[in-house]
């Protein structure tokens, strides 16, 4: 029977060889099990940097970040679980949970990529879930930051962030699904600075859901926090502007002329920027975008109005520079040619500005356009004249986007000879065809920020800095280099004397904006009434103050409420008071403005 030992040995050896072959197959031949193991045990976790804080010019926090948690699911790791318990801790109902899980494995989502179950839970919502999550394999929380706006103002100016869309991801491949990106305002234009740099953490995840470092974190890439940004906004002024514009459509642009820093950018009606946060964002965004008053439309930079009488400032300066008139030129107020208002008959330039004399400026424009540069052909002459005029007008920033740091600024329109050629045919138009642009009506279109910039140019006597909303990138940084570059408009400084003097008189006794007068501050301004048939005119006012050392320039637009001196001018004066004195003495004026409601006109 001893021979039977060998049978047994053969059996043992056979089994050992079979097992070794199998182990060799699993360990050495096959890559499949290794791939599965690596996929299970190693994970790249994106570490989102905290986004930079946006401050106002006095370092008050305008936008900051708050930590929220996304509850994620990685479908491949999900094991059958107690759905009732899960629903209980997450306060989802069973059908919701089912549809979320179904969606997580339906194209374009796949089993091995995480999807969100609940987005943006506040810390207090997440806290009760955190302790229970280990029971549900495949579910985990991802912390990220959400923007909050403590001052509840400046919605369009500050802008918002949202998840990148497919379209944006195609444009900027460095963004991945689930990343957040600035969509408008400062958030968009300073996205690169604010966002910081994503880090990567390589982790193990064990089956209790606890994450551990791979290789002691040596492979990890640290997240770099976003750069803080100091905005040029004075948040008190901004909020006051929004308050004054309540129940009105329109906008206020306030710029510090010496630097081009935007002090306030009010577009009304406005909304609390916190509405576009978190899970309510979708619904609120829809409601805002359907609102007939268009709160999402930034009137200060995107609304293109006809310039109205305030354009006469630019006309005066252009005509002086082109030598078409001098400050003593008098032109009769011939109301047969074009309508006018008030009692005057033969103004010089200064008084024509004060009276906003339409026939005078018709005459000025005629001298500019029909300069006799081609005496043989009136049409060609007009073409040359208009070209010269346009060249100068565009130096003021009209017809350009002013190179601001605000996304989506509209250019407006300064009609060129080619424009009229297209409209009327070549050499088929002359001054009499196009004269309405002389008083800021007709084809010409401007944006409020361009008008405010014009006020800056006058205040600076001949130059401007591109208006911008960010004063410093980084708490001790500088503005973007392009904003410290002076733009000269090519008008001799002395030509501004007459214009400034006229603008002072506009706000003085008998001027069209006398209602904007302040006891202690000399304001130089110009009213405008932009025709807007068949609806009521827009009330417009541009100004700067104080006269001798301008600290603020403003453009105020109030839609469909009438004459410029009545509404826009007092609003501007209150803004000046607020900014320069930090207190309002003209209580009655303020009350009168706050009581008005023009929304339904």
């Amino acid at each position: 029977m001893e021979g039977r030992r060998y049978t047994l040995i053969v059996i043992v050896m056979t089994i050992a060889v079979i097992y070794l072959l199998r182990i060799f197959g699993l360990q050495v031949v096959s890559q499949y099990w290794k791939d599965r193991g690596t996929a299970l045990t190693e994970k790249e976790v994106v570490v989102y940097p905290s986004r930079g804080v946006i401050y106002d010019r006095n370092l008050r926090v305008l936008v900051t970040s708050q930590t929220v948690y996304d509850l994620m699911v990685l479908p491949k790791d999900v094991l059958p679980f107690d759905t009732m318990a899960f629903c209980k801790i997450t306060s989802l109902d069973l059908d919701e949970l089912r549809s979320i899980l179904k969606k997580a494995v339906t194209y374009p989502n796949v089993r091995y990529k995480p999807s969100a179950v609940i987005k943006q839970m506040k810390p207090e919502e997440y806290a009760p879930i955190a302790g229970e999550l280990y029971r549900f394999k495949g579910f985990y929380a991802q912390a990220r930051t959400l923007r909050v706006y403590p001052e509840k103002a400046g919605a369009l100016l500050l802008g918002d962030v949202g998840e990148v869309t497919k379209k944006l991801m195609e444009k900027f491949p460095e963004y991945k699904k689930g990343d957040y990106i600035g969509l408008s305002g400062i958030e968009k234009s300073y996205e690169n600075e604010l966002r910081g740099q994503r880090g990567i953490k390589y982790v193990f995840r064990d089956n209790l859901g606890v994450e551990r470092q791979v290789a002691n974190g040596n492979l990890d890439v640290k997240a770099i926090e976003g750069t803080h940004v100091v905005s040029s906004i004075d948040i008190d002024l901004q909020k006051y502007g929004e308050k004054l514009m309540q129940n009105k459509r329109g906008c206020i642009v306030a710029i510090e002329p010496k630097t081009g820093e935007i002090l306030a950018l009010v577009s009304s009606p406005t909304f609390d920027p916190n509405l576009l946060l978190g899970r309510a964002r979708g619904a609120n965004f829809l409601a805002l975008s359907r609102d007939k008053q268009k709160p999402l439309f930034n009137r200060a930079t995107q609304a293109q109005y006809r310039p109205g009488s305030i354009f006469k400032i630019a006309q005066s300066l252009t005509a002086l520079q082109l030598g078409a008139i001098n400050k003593d030129t008098r032109i009769p107020c011939n109301r047969a040619l074009i309508g006018c208002h008030g009692s005057h008959s033969m103004d010089d330039l200064e008084m024509a500005i004060v009276h906003s004399c339409n026939p005078y400026f018709r005459g000025v424009m005629q001298r500019v356009v029909e300069g006799g540069r081609n005496p043989k052909n009136r049409f060609k002459d007009a073409q040359i004249g208009l070209g010269l005029w346009r060249e100068q007008i565009m130096k003021f920033g009209f017809g350009t986007n002013l190179s601001t740091d605000i996304p989506g600024v509209k250019k407006g329109l300064v009609p060129s000879p080619e424009y009229y050629d297209r409209a009327y045919g070549k050499e088929s138009w002359n001054f009499s065809t196009i004269y309405s642009i002389s008083i800021g009506e007709g084809e010409m279109l401007v944006t409020p920020i361009q008008m405010c910039n014009l006020a800056c140019i006058v205040a600076n006597r001949g130059y401007y800095y591109s208006p911008h909303t960010v004063k410093k990138v980084g708490l001790n940084g500088a503005p973007r280099p392009e904003f410290s570059q002076k733009n000269d408009v090519g008008i001799r400084p002395e030509y501004f004397d007459v214009v400034i003097s006229a603008m002072e008189k506009v706000v003085g006794p008998g001027g069209t904006a006398n209602g904007a007068k302040l006891q202690d501050i000399v304001i130089c301004g110009k009213t405008g009434t932009v025709q807007n048939e068949p609806r009521k005119d827009h009330s417009v006012f541009v100004c700067f103050a104080p006269k001798d050392d301008p600290k603020i320039a403003l453009a105020v637009y109030v839609e469909n409420c009438g004459f410029g001196g009545t509404w826009a001018a007092p609003i501007a004066s209150l803004m000046i008071e607020q900014y320069l004195n930090d207190a309002i003495k003209n209580i009655e004026r303020e009350k009168h403005i706050l009581e008005q409601n023009f929304l339904n006109q």
């Binding site: 001893e2 047994l8 043992v12 050896m13 097992y19 299970l40 995840r205």
Partner: protein, 443 residues
């Protein structure tokens, strides 16, 4: 050869076996340490963790081993029935006052420690079987009576274990069939056993599907197997009769007919048992092993994780304490039955080769040691030890690498657990002691 040497623990002791045992225990503890490693409890003696407790069990086992070496071999022969009876009693007792773990009443619970009598009962079976075979003369398991007595010796504890129920421990009792084969049981037993496994697997695989039988419609797929089997048998009968001399034909007819009927009814029974009698999780485990579709999605979780863990090892392994699957506890309770996966991941194919080589070496070495015994008692006991190790090796490693169904039995000296370590140590050292007396007595 003097009495002096017989009483000594330093007689002709087989140090090779002891060396292998030390290797297993040390390597085993290191693997448990790694599999159960907890960064907040890094101390090897921390009793809050499995490696701390195992350290204690190793200490106790060393004492038991030394003690065993000082007990005269006679003692085991004389007291074989007492030891057997004692463990049999424990097996009865555990059914009454045992602690139920994973649906089986297999443990005596003492605080956080547990003792599993089924592990020890194999020692008793080995001793009594050896004593009985020695009494009838070695290699003489040829008549029905001796086979029935042997079967009863094995069957009593096995039956009690089945009542727990602990299918894993029960299966390891197959080891004694190999021993009986060595001592004269017909080789047909092994052939029948092999055929049973083959037909068992075939019937489960076919039974998992359905077959469209003419006139009977949709039936369990096992019927297809039976039909094919019958047709094959008829073909064999028709075409081989010409090659068989006429005097042997009757015998052949009988063998083929009986064999076919037996195979068919066995197949049907297996299929029926799997479908209707086995508990659902047993059926799932068998299905998982055979790569058959399972309803419950994570039924194959342990098996898959174990295979992944093994696969991660590569040729040289990830290094001790560095296996990502092991360190992150993907395999549930890896330090117990799935301990081999930790070895494979952290020591790679080379480590697996060494481990399997060491087991094969131990088993074959034990067989040679057994055969050099003059005493039948020692020889039979030696084969019992070798075959018990073989069965544990066969089932445990087969389970980890997906070639055997998931059956919870320990890998000797590796798996965490005091009962198995102590029982296997005793089992082995009794043999070492018996071997050290091989020159002195003829039993």
């Amino acid at each position: 050869m003097s009495r002096n040497r017989n009483n000594s623990a330093v007689g002709p002791i087989d140090w090779t076996i002891i060396g292998v045992w030390i290797f297993f225990v040390v390597f085993g503890w290191m693997t448990i340490y790694s599999a159960a490693y907890d960064a907040s409890h890094p101390m090897p003696f921390d009793f809050a963790k499995e490696y701390g407790k195992q350290m204690m069990w190793i200490g106790i086992s060393v004492l038991l081993a030394i003690l065993t070496l000082y007990i005269e071999g006679d003692f085991f022969a004389k007291f074989a029935w007492v030891i057997y009876g004692f463990f049999l009693m424990l097996l009865v007792l555990v059914l009454i006052i045992g602690k139920e773990v994973n649906g089986a009443k297999a443990w005596f619970g003492v605080g956080s420690f547990g003792i599993q009598p089924s592990e020890f009962s194999k020692i008793g079976v080995g001793l009594v079987l050896a004593k009985y075979i020695a009494s009838i003369g070695g290699g003489q398991l040829k008549n029905m009576q001796s086979r029935l007595v042997s079967a009863a010796i094995i069957g009593m504890p096995a039956g009690l274990i089945l009542l727990q129920p602990d299918v894993g421990s029960l299966l390891t009792f197959v080891a004694f069939v190999f021993v009986m084969y060595r001592e004269g049981l017909s080789g047909n037993v092994l052939i029948v056993g092999f055929a049973a496994i083959l037909f068992g697997v075939l019937s489960i695989v076919t039974g998992a599907g359905t077959a469209n039988i003419p006139f009977y419609g949709e039936q369990s797929g096992v019927w297809m197997l039976i039909i094919v089997l019958t047709i094959l048998a008829i073909l064999v009968l028709l075409y081989t009769r010409n090659f068989i001399p006429p005097r042997n034909r009757r015998k052949m007819y009988l063998i083929v007919t009986v064999g076919t009927i037996a195979a068919a009814s066995f197949s049907y029974s297996v299929s029926y048992i799997v479908d209707n009698i086995l508990e659902k999780h047993h059926k799932e485990r068998i299905y998982v092993m055979l790569s058959l579709p399972v309803e419950r999605k994570d039924a194959d979780y342990n098996s898959e994780m174990a295979k992944i863990t093994v696969g991660m090892g590569g040729v040289f392994g990830k290094g001790w304490l560095d296996g990502p699957m092991t360190q992150n506890n993907y395999v549930p309770e890896q330090w117990t039955d799935f301990i081999f996966s930790a070895v494979a991941e952290e020591w790679g194919f080379l480590g697996s080769l060494i481990l399997i080589g060491a087991y094969v070496f131990l088993i074959i070495r034990l067989m040679f040691i057994a055969d050099r015994q003059r005493s039948v008692f020692s020889r039979v006991y030696g084969y019992c030890v070798a075959c018990i190790f073989f069965m544990h090796f066969l089932i445990n490693i087969g389970m980890v690498i997906g070639l055997a169904p998931i059956i919870g039995i320990p890998l000797p000296f590796f798996s965490y657990g005091g009962s198995s370590l102590m029982a296997f140590t005793l089992l082995l050292f009794i043999m070492v002691r018996l071997d050290s007396e091989r020159w002195s007595v003829l039993k």
